[in-house]
Symmetry: C2
Subunit: 301 residues, 2 copies
């Protein structure tokens, strides 16, 4: 799993800082998470291949997470896209995009499929053989979801030495990887544990932005490998987090600690701060394994 | 009059080229003309003071002229704007912006006033003592207007020498500048032409983008000081101008020549071309006083 930050700053796009967007590479998918204004230029700068994006997840309909989407959809059209594009986001997103396409008389020539969300409970919104995506209902000024990306347990790893030792034909490999035992020609049973090793343990990534400090998410993200949690404010502005429904660095760290996640990545920094290192300083007093997002930064998970 | 190009490339924003937006400084106004995605960042890069913009003119509702507007309106709010903002654009623009504000529950705390356009005839949409703005109905795939910005004839210039010679008190200066004659204490009449000089002749700027070659605009823009005309294609792609309703460099030059304008500025270049100098080469075979727009370039008019 590989997370590429395209933008991680709050509110308005600026010359050197971009609003929220990130790309998650997971099990051969390239998921775009949020799409602030300028995301398509950030995709180019970071050399992301446009055609690989087939699923876009939008947390909420504030401009800094969403205003890059109409342009991206339109650019896909101009690039001659034919593949389906799936968009997951709050109810209303379809009406907005459709109205903009209607006003521009610019309908896509590829299938554009909306999956509108309105549940306040966590639900699975995407699933295939290798992973699932579930929503993480958050506490923000408008209806907002985070997203939990979870790999599924993969097939068992063949023990190549055992295959040779027991002279097992490769035709049986598929079944054995799925967990089957093997009966030798002489009738002797070889149980699967003699033939395979555990697969790499499945990993998970939780994206939580934007949100106030919200303990309801803890059971949903417990033991995640990586949590990206918004941290708009430092302690000096902690009094603003209540009214704006954003979090401080310390609040994000508290969630990470209580949910016993592996690592915490902070983002969605207010552009009022010159030096984002203070976010790390403050969060690490509560939770040690903390890192800072930054535009263009890549995290291997 | 001063024209600052923020973006002048067609279709999709890229790392080094921006979709259409420009700022016209005229008689103490700062008009924003079109607002493609990323315009607010271009305004910052070009050090334009956000609060000076009170009027935004949108030619048509294709994304590369319009998708930066929702974000700019939202940024004005975040910056604590209180002054009115007037938006002139095709019918539907109000519905689109209002829907986006509703979905984000992000209403402006400053007055946002829409002037929706739907006439296919030229009309005056803004006027004060010093200038007027009229629409230039264009021929594009959707309803589109160019805009003609025309200064009004200013007050006459006082002849300081004459004021001294005839010992005219400064209390009379206002009336004389407006064209009044002056009667001396001895009853002798001094006609205005003895006291003043002609004011600088009023200037005009015509913005025409996007449009196919469209002779109907010629009488409307005749003798304009500067014409900005879109030139999406070079001759090699001339066959595309009909279906896409765009112009070639030569077509733009032909309009400039027939309308007898002072100077022609070309813009809205397709990003397929590596070297925009060819636009100048091809246009100048028809009309000599031709210049190329480019992002960040400033033209004194």
């Amino acid at each position: 799993m590989r997370l590429q930050i395209l933008g991680c700053y709050a509110a308005t796009p600026r010359t050197l800082s971009n609003p929220t967007a990130q790309v998650l590479e997971i099990k051969n998918h390239l998921f775009l998470i949020d799409c602030g204004e300028g995301t398509q230029v950030q995709l180019r700068k970071n050399k992301v291949k446009f055609s690989r994006i087939q699923h876009i997840f939008i947390s909420h309909l504030h401009g800094d997470h969403f205003f890059g989407l109409p342009g991206l959809i339109s650019t896909f059209r101009l690039l001659g896209r034919e593949k389906e594009l799936h968009i997951y986001g709050p109810k209303g997103i379809k009406e907005a995009i459709t109205l903009l396409m209607k006003l521009g008389n610019s309908w896509t020539n590829y299938p554009l499929i909306f999956h509108e969300l309105e549940s306040k409970k966590s639900e699975t919104i995407f699933e295939d053989e290798k992973l699932s995506v579930t929503t993480l209902p958050l506490d923000h000024r408008i209806y907002t979801n985070g997203f939990l990306f979870t790999e599924k347990e993969g097939e068992r790893k063949l023990d190549v030495g055992a295959m040779a030792k027991y002279k097992i034909d490769h035709h049986y490999f598929g079944e054995i990887k799925k967990g089957a035992d093997f009966t030798q020609p002489d009738g002797k049973l070889l149980t699967n544990d003699l033939l395979t090793m555990d697969p790499p343990s499945p990993r998970s990534y939780a994206y939580c932005s934007d949100t106030a400090y919200f303990e309801n998410i803890i059971p949903l993200i417990e033991h995640s490998d990586v949590l990206y949690h918004e941290a708009t404010f430092l302690e000096t502005e902690a009094h603003l987090s209540g009214t704006t429904k954003h979090s401080t660095a310390k609040e994000a760290a508290t969630i990470a600690k209580k949910a016993k996640v592996g690592r915490l990545i902070l983002g969605h920094f207010s552009t009022r701060y010159k030096n984002i290192e203070h976010f790390k300083d403050q969060a690490s007093t509560i939770f040690e394994a903390v890192e800072l997002a930054d535009d263009g930064k890549v995290f291997e998970i």
